[in-house]
Assembly symmetry: C2
Homo-oligomer: 96 residues x 2
């Protein structure tokens, strides 16, 4: 469960990065120079084969001039205020 969801997260995030980069007419090599991240590493991230660190994601977002949130696929089931979760909550006793 975790594994497939995480693969999808990485794939979707990579997709968003690639779309954003392509929309700006940047090549991997250009983005590599802008971010300091090598082009092979960027390729792996964009194809969902690598699990980037937060600072890596931040450097990409900075270079593409979008917030990190624009790159992180949001498939966790939560989006806006409070989506009622399909599964059991934990004991959040003093919450509310």
């Amino acid at each position: 469960m975790v594994d497939n969801a995480e693969k999808k997260l990485l794939a979707d995030t990579g997709h968003r990065i690639r779309e954003t980069r392509a929309a700006q007419g940047l090549s991997l090599e250009q983005l590599a120079r802008l971010t300091g991240i090598s082009a092979p590493a960027l390729s792996l991230i964009e194809t969902g084969k690598r699990d980037p660190r937060l600072t890596t994601l931040n450097r990409i977002a900075d270079a593409l001039r979008v917030p990190i949130a624009a790159l992180t696929a949001n498939l966790s089931g939560i989006e806006e205020p409070n989506t009622p979760l399909p599964y059991e909550g934990y004991d959040l006793g003093d919450y509310q």
Copy 2:
């Protein structure tokens, strides 16, 4: 430039995680069980001493039932609107 900004990013992100966890009355040990991430690792992340991977951040966001964007500090200089490309920016003349 990158270094200080990244430290601040990690510190701010960790702070948001801690605030969200505390607001739900969860201990590090409880969050560790929910995420599969060890309590020492969570402590390092919350105190900004570790650079978490995207899937790690995602597991934390899932357990806290907030989107990843709620945890990632947004100090990249860009705000909210996902600019659909004004496209006259980006002076990459020196690159290319």
